[in-house]
Symmetry: C2
Subunit: 298 residues, 2 copies
């Protein structure tokens, strides 16, 4: 059959009109070139070059072939360049799934860094609840996802990325509550400021209460963690937030953390990919960066 390597030899020979020069370019010897072209001509049943005393020259048929081969090669050359570019992270695409909350507070800060380092990489975010996100991940619509733990799925490779520690915080108005330890019932009877219904955070806190047979109805229900903290500071009640987010306020005394008889279990955020798929170069790089930055502390 026809050996594709022959095309490369043919191409160089046609360009240099000289077997010896072509051989030099290809880092092989002149007889090898001569041999390859002979093979080719025999395989095609056509003469491709005129053998002149001072080199070779394409025949009519050879010229016809060269037109195509040249184009074909420039195509393959572009391919090499494109792949190199993908490898150098000058282009590419990452499709990430996460909840609105995680997109805003975990992903966005990291993404900025990533995007300014690799401006050519296109980021596609899709938001949704964890079950929805995992489905899209399994369907191949997204490359990786940030999910709330615990989550088990045989098709997915999930690793814990960062641990969220939650707490109830109050403003100065409720300062005295923070001096002693509260039971869950006591907490449930406070005016509560919670994340909106259906969010992972809300589900988590409701389950915590439910474990003691308590059901709660928040006085205030909000969609953003900043607002939760703000209402707490203003003394509207106890807000359920992740501790790291209100760290500064706790230090400066604008907010107070409630001590609890039954400690809240830490919640984990995991990073999930399909077990049977390798990440693209771009996604791989992204994961590396996320991992490095998060291990230094969120």
């Amino acid at each position: 059959m026809f050996n594709l390597e022959w095309y490369r030899i043919f191409w160089q020979t046609a360009r240099h009109r000289n077997l010896t020069k072509a051989a030099g370019e290809l880092h092989i010897t002149q007889p090898s070139v001569s041999y390859a072209i002979k093979q080719m001509e025999e395989a095609l049943g056509l003469r491709l070059f005129h053998r002149l005393s001072k080199g070779v020259e394409l025949t009519e048929e050879g010229r016809a072939l060269f037109e195509y081969v040249d184009q074909s090669f420039s195509m393959l050359d572009s391919a090499q360049k494109h792949l190199e570019s993908l490898k150098q992270l000058n282009e590419g695409e990452i499709r990430i799934g996460a909840s609105d909350y995680l997109i805003k507070h975990l992903l966005l800060p990291q993404l900025n860094t990533f995007h300014s380092t690799y401006p050519g990489i296109r980021i596609r975010l899709s938001h949704g609840k964890t079950p929805d996100i995992t489905k899209r991940l399994k369907d191949g619509e997204i490359d990786c996802a940030f999910v709330h733990m615990p989550l088990h799925d045989p098709l997915l490779n999930i690793q814990t990325l960062v641990v969220l520690e939650d707490c109830f915080v109050v403003g100065e108005a409720y300062q005295e509550l923070a001096s002693r330890s509260l039971t869950m019932r006591e907490v449930s009877e406070l005016p509560l400021i919670l994340f909106s219904q259906g969010s992972s955070t809300r589900v988590f806190v409701e389950q915590w209460f439910a474990a003691k047979g308590l059901s709660v109805t928040p006085d205030i229900e909000l969609g953003s963690i900043e607002l939760l903290a703000e209402f707490a500071r203003l003394g509207y009640g106890a807000a359920f937030v992740s501790r790291s987010f209100v760290q500064e306020d706790l230090h400066s005394g604008k907010l107070y953390e409630l001590k609890l008889d039954d400690p809240l279990l830490p919640r984990s955020i995991g990073f999930a990919v399909r077990r049977d798929r390798k990440l693209s170069v771009a996604a791989e790089q992204f994961v590396q960066m996320i991992g490095a930055r998060l291990s230094e502390g969120l």
Copy 2:
């Protein structure tokens, strides 16, 4: 370095999403495919396929590569088709040089046959005098030429194709001249009907006279052999024509050939190509045909 054969293996694998199938298509074994793709991935420093439990699937980078490779291959495929077509004489080009006279009386009848057999082959004719034609042949502007012999040129390969025998003919009016043998001087004093100045035929006949120190001025000078014969038939004088052309008139008694003391040397028509160039498939076929037909007698 990168082996172009790998592309073929990559391509088949990508199309079938299955190493085993690709191997079958390529008439090699599955491990060979596995090995080749591994080589390729290592050379590129990129993973090209996801290995799934039920086959393989292109990665993002693999898809990018496939786009190019697929195009590149369809290009090479077109090349094969084109060459095949050239070989089958479904297309191609022949550039032929000849004098006006030879184009009309030697080439045209043959060309019709050739052209109806191979309608896809483009014929390019260029006309000119033999020295001009041979120059164009040596410059590579034409592929082959019909020339008047004798002609010697170290760069050209010339073979005699057909022998033209010339003669002087007269109409009934001069019938009695044909009964005896004439000297050249007698002929030179007849009213002569000759081909136009500069043509090979004219040069030939002038040289024949010049060899005896005679110079001639024709009474009638014409550009086509039909007209020469016609004027002779009408009794305007003696026309110098090739015998084969007036064969019929000689038999039917419309024309009479003059007998000469000094016989005219037969003139040869030769076929010339460049010694260092091989003819294209189309031209080769043309030469074959011309040779075969002419050897059966013009």
